[in-house]
């Protein structure tokens, strides 16, 4: 039994690194942004190997409706090369940390024409087999309202007001009853109200001379 376990674990140790030599790249799935704002597109990877000095990151951009992708960013040999001729010249900045496997870029001053798919490809030699990961960017003129947000808000507010009004109503009734009761006790008066109030609410031990029937 023990030898069987040992053999399977050794076999697994042999097989698993073989299959997961592939590098795994993570970006977001979809990003929403407003026109004129900045957005940070994050890209990181997982690799069984240590981060090598020759790690490379590259971003490509494919506009919506187009079939060609253009390369907009490349990091290699310890230096970052940003787009200086394409649609993102002067708007692209490298904000990642390759030592920590972060190859994120910052897009500034977004335009409506920036809608499209951004693909990040990272290589960590000798771990170079992997699939690039894409993030879709959607740029809006104004923030679209999600379904049901306003509906829920209106219903919640009205029902909340209803509950509040009912609570206040009963609270006022309760408080007024108590106040009237305490008033007539302090005045030492022989009023009719005092008698009726004494019959209603919880009566503390009162002076027998005051009780009227």
């Amino acid at each position: 039994m023990l030898t069987f376990l040992a053999l399977t674990s050794v076999a697994l140790l042999g097989i698993v690194p073989e299959q997961s030599q592939a590098i795994v790249i993570y970006t977001g799935w979809e990003r929403h942004a407003l026109v004129g704002s900045d957005i940070r597109l994050s890209c990181s990877f997982f690799s069984w190997r240590w981060t090598s000095e020759d790690v490379t990151f590259s971003w490509t951009y494919r506009p919506d409706g187009s079939r060609d992708a253009i390369s907009i960013f490349h990091y290699t040999g310890g230096a970052a090369y940003v787009d200086n001729k394409g649609p993102f010249r002067d708007r692209l900045e490298f904000v990642g940390n390759p030592g920590r496997r972060d190859g994120s870029i910052l897009l500034k001053n977004l335009e409506l024409s920036d809608n499209g798919t951004f693909t990040c490809d990272a290589k960590n030699p000798p771990d170079i087999v992997g699939r690039p990961s894409s993030v879709r960017l959607l740029v809006f003129e104004k923030v679209p309202i999600q379904a049901g947000v306003i509906t829920g808000a209106i219903i919640g507010v009205v029902l909340g007001l209803l509950v509040l009004i009912v609570v206040i109503y009963y609270l006022m009734r309760f408080l007024v009853a108590r106040r009237v009761f305490s008033l007539s006790v302090s005045k030492h008066g022989k009023k009719k109200k005092e008698g009726s109030q004494q019959r209603q609410g919880p009566v503390p031990p009162a002076d027998p001379s005051k009780i009227k029937v």
């Binding site: 679209p144 309202i145 999600q146 379904a147 049901g148 947000v149 306003i150 509906t151 829920g152 808000a153 209106i154 219903i155 009205v158 029902l159």
Partner: protein, 170 residues
């Protein structure tokens, strides 16, 4: 003595009939409101019907997509749901006050909730009427759910007013 008893008997029966009639009216109004809120037939055209929650097409594959998320449609949705809720609360309040009210008391809460429900239906129907986009390509006209909302509004108001004047006798 005999005439006294028969008069009281008639009065009781009349009271019972009135209460029954008012209750049936209330239930009918609730049903109208529920149908108006739930049915996808506020605007109809040859190619399909839409609002309040979906837009469905009549041609090709009969599919329904969720309707647009604009703020006015969401407001109409909220107002219609609130009107159904308040009509339902008013029904509960009516049944409660029927058995627990002192003699000569008025159905205060019932009337308040019913009138509020009618105000909500009115607001919802008005907002829908005003904000509906003019579609010049396809000829759209108002559907039965829209008509039911406008029918439910005066009925609800009348019902609320009846509850204000109604007094619990006996």
């Amino acid at each position: 003595m005999q005439t006294c008893i028969t008069l009281i008997d008639l009065l009781e029966k009349k009271m019972l009939l009135i209460l029954l009639g008012v209750l049936i009216l209330h239930v009918i109004i609730l049903i109208l409101l529920i149908v108006s809120t739930a049915a996808t037939a506020w605007s109809v055209a040859n190619s399909g019907r839409k609002d309040l929650w979906y837009k469905c097409s009549n041609s090709g594959d009969y599919h329904c997509l969720p309707s647009s998320n604009e703020d006015w449609i969401q407001a109409v949705q909220a107002l219609m749901i609130l009107s159904v809720l308040f009509c339902f609360f008013s029904l509960i309040a009516f049944l409660y006050q029927l058995f627990r009210l002192v003699k000569g008391g008025r159905f205060f809460f019932t009337a308040i909730f019913q009138i509020l429900a009618s105000v909500f239906v009115m607001c919802g129907a008005i907002i829908y009427t005003v904000m509906r986009p003019e579609d010049k390509k396809i000829y759209t006209h108002f559907g039965y759910a829209y008509v039911l909302a406008w029918v439910a509004f005066p009925l609800c108001l009348i019902s609320g007013l009846i509850y204000i004047v109604l007094r619990k006798k006996e």
